[in-house]
Amino acid sequence: MTGVFICKCGGNISGTVDCEEVRDSVKGEEDVNAVQVTEFLCSKPGLQLIQGSIKSHGLDRVVVACCSPHMHEEMFRGIVEEAGVNRHRLVHVNLREQCSWVHDRGATEKATSLVKGGIARAHTLEPLKEMVVKINRDVLVIGGGVAGITAALQLSKGGFNVSLVERRPSIGGRMAQLSKTFPTLDCSPCILSPRMAEVGNDENIRLLTGAEVASVSGGPGEYHVKVKIAPRGVDADKCLKCGRCGQVCPTEVPNEFEEGLYKRKAAYLPFPQAVPSSYVIDFEHCKRCGACVEACPVGAIDLDDQEKTVTVDAGSMIVATGFDLIGDEALRTYHPEMSSVVNALQVERLIENELTEGKVLTRRNGERVKSIAYILCAGSRDPHHGVGYCSSVCCAYSVKQAILLRKFLPFLKVYIYYTDMRMTGRGFEDFYMEAREKGIQFIHAKPGGVTPLDDGRFEVIVEDQDTGLMLRNQVDLVVLSSAMVPSAGTGELASRLGIALGEDLFVAPKHVKLDPISTLREGVFAVGVATGTKDIHDSVIDARAAASHVYNFVGDGTARLSPAKPVHEGECDLCGACTGACVRGALTMGGKGPILDPVSCNGCGACISACTKGSLRIPNNSGDTLLEEAKGLLSGTEGDVAVLGFFDDNISYTAADNAGTARLHYPTNIRIVRMPSTALLSKETILKAMGLGADGVLICEVEESHEAELAAKLVSDVSETLKGFGIEPERIHLQPMVLPIFKMLPKFVSDFTEQVKKMGKLTAEKRKLLLK
């Protein structure tokens, strides 16, 4: 007894899809007792409609045809479950992101076949029970800046054990490098170091510094993370910070905390408020002379300290890896290689080191710096040389720095060259007015570059956007308010964690508006600038929100796992093909057959196709289910070529949704089948699908993944067989997908559809061959 509910979505679907026509076309399908069309299915009346219909028609299966399942699938599952229908007998058909938003003509016909596919699939569904597993309450926080610190402290107060992994020898991140924060001019290290000290003293927080994530295994609720810890060389508990090691150390290198402006020794204290509060040996530059060992009064130094690897087990993780400033290559025309061209982080260090010591800023030749030009948006909002996005904080911090500079050195002439003044935060606009009143000059123009003059000063020439006049200026110091980019290694970390990046290379959120902290992987959250440029205020909010997410995720220490995991039924000769196929180590061979670790298993299905006896299946996602769904999807495609698209749920299906949200169009010939992973596909299934009416098969899988490798093998296998039947092998195609390039998806689909159109529909004889 199947019920079908079609949503008009307030015009978003009904704008191009005639929902009433779809209803009329599907109401005659087998076992369909009720078909309703409504304006907003997800609204209270819409949900009541579903529940009411379930009761009055005695429904045991439900098909909702509306927006993408990524939006409200969980909610619909909950609603039908409340009304007595097993939550796994809900089919969610995507009529919006993958139909009404990407098609004009032919949208209704396509919608009909999508719904028919959904109905056909619904008929194959078994009522499943979810697995309940224990969740590890421990949390791993990656990154010890203000966001990571805030999250760790919040979680610790909630009674969670936190491991905080920080790449540098001390926590504190970028905020520790700042002098004062906008708009209140709070002393940055003063407000941060009590937090840092708390982290250091907190019993619930295990602090690992000089540490990086090397690999991740397991799954949501039970992650096993290998963390590589670089040798500190100094026993942090013994270190008195007397500084004698640093005094005798012969090696000097640029100081990272000071952004290269000053030097430090190879035996050094990262900065006065460092936590752990201890010196460090920089083994990359240490000459092993041993002078520090001798000088240390408490014998805290061990030059034979080795790298360690520890395993951190955690049920959830928080990524708080922050940012770097964009490299010099993007800023060439501003001559960043010259000593009188600095970036904003360097100015923070100059303020802290020079100005607060009562010194003035000087040029290389010793003369006083009397004039400074700030170049806003250096490298930002600049797709040709830098990054396309706005870095959010530069307008505010440039105003802040200008106010501070003039406070210390009232004779300074400060010119801020701006494109816009984005003073969005609370109190920011007043701050800006204060700067104007204090005589800081704002010039509405962005210079394309600065010209070094013979005397070491710089010439800046712009066209003032307000007056249209050309303005020429000569300054002693140039400050680049340069673009923020995800910190080095974010990409690699993301792939280790199995989370996706956006087009701008920051971590992609689950939903930009409604769920900006969750990533696309269950149990992994991301906060701070790791998910996009923002200030301290917003990073702290993110961190506190993530702690709340962890709390909800962990709950009482148990989790309900999806039952879409392999079930073993039938013969087993212990051949081990399945355990070999699993890259997540979720299958191990027992005495009678394979044993599954449901937490590590992500339901990809690689084991299913590997089993030579066909004894493994994923409930509700077998080859037969797919073929039934295909029959429905392919109905009504006699007139033109039909393409079946098998898309992995996490990345490729999301990319197709993103293309829909962007309203990018592509031909209607394709019917996308949502798969937990394309590793579920077998040659037999694909050949039969073609026999049933598919003229082309497009497989979309995550680029450079194990699943993509399997898909590639599958495609070549199928191609060979097709050739043997005298069918063009080009009818099957593998398209690797990465989320940042979702805009290319319509082109991939169009190109492949064109190719299939040129080859034409398969003849009846060929189809008979394929169905054998």
């Binding site: 060439r332 025309t333 010209t451 070094p452 003059l453 010439e459």
Partner: protein, 290 residues
Amino acid sequence: MRYGLFLGCTIPTRQMNYEQSAREVAKVLGIEFIDGDYGCCGFPVESVDEVKAFSMAAANLKIASASGDVLVTLCSACGEMLCKAEKRLCEDAETTKGVGKVLMQANVSYAGEKPRVLHFARMLHDDYGLDNIRAKVVKPLKGLKIATHPGCHYVRPSTLYPGFDDPEFPGTLDRLVEVTGAEALDYPGKTDCCGGGILAVREDIAKAMTGKKLAKLTGKTDAMVIVCPFCGIMYDKYQRTLEEELGKEFGLPVLYYPQLLGLALGIDSSKLGFDVNSVDVQSLLEKAGV
């Protein structure tokens, strides 16, 4: 090595020194230049009538393609125009149709021919090779300080010359100067335009642009090296006029690259067209020891 040679209009009429020195240099380097029945590239017409301008370019492309040779242009603007026409006529069906109509009147039909077109200096840098040039230098011009003026159309728009040089920090001309043994100067404003492009529209601005670079370089360099005849007209032919109008003294010799290279290759200075140079080069030749 053989190349078709595209002279354009300005060089054979007003800057024969570029052509003469280029031919002499080619002889020594073992490069054969094949002349053809080429006409104006269309560059001056582009801002007035795009379709006619591209038609003129297309006619030349057809001739080059028929000869089977790679086409080398001496003038940067000609090079840009021909490369731009190739790109435009394979991407824009509308313009191609218009061009077809125009060419029909001359009984020419352009069928999308795309011969390889490159600037003379690019040919030497990319095809011939710096090492091979250096091997033929017999009189290294040690001690000479040269300021190269890459000009505008030589490297921009960079989409026309993918993979060649750097549109914001061009260096190929400097490398070419260095193989002669001379020193190539880095100076602010290297990428500034000579002003020639707007001479016909705003003569005052054009001359101010030209004068600016001359003022910057006077006394800092022994000569300016250029690769485009319009830059030559601005910096060389007009230098005296500018001195009078701006009340300054420049006295800066302006050489075409093959004139400089020719000296290093041991070619007699009388064959390098110096009689056409407006600004006296005697002091430079003496310093170079020729």
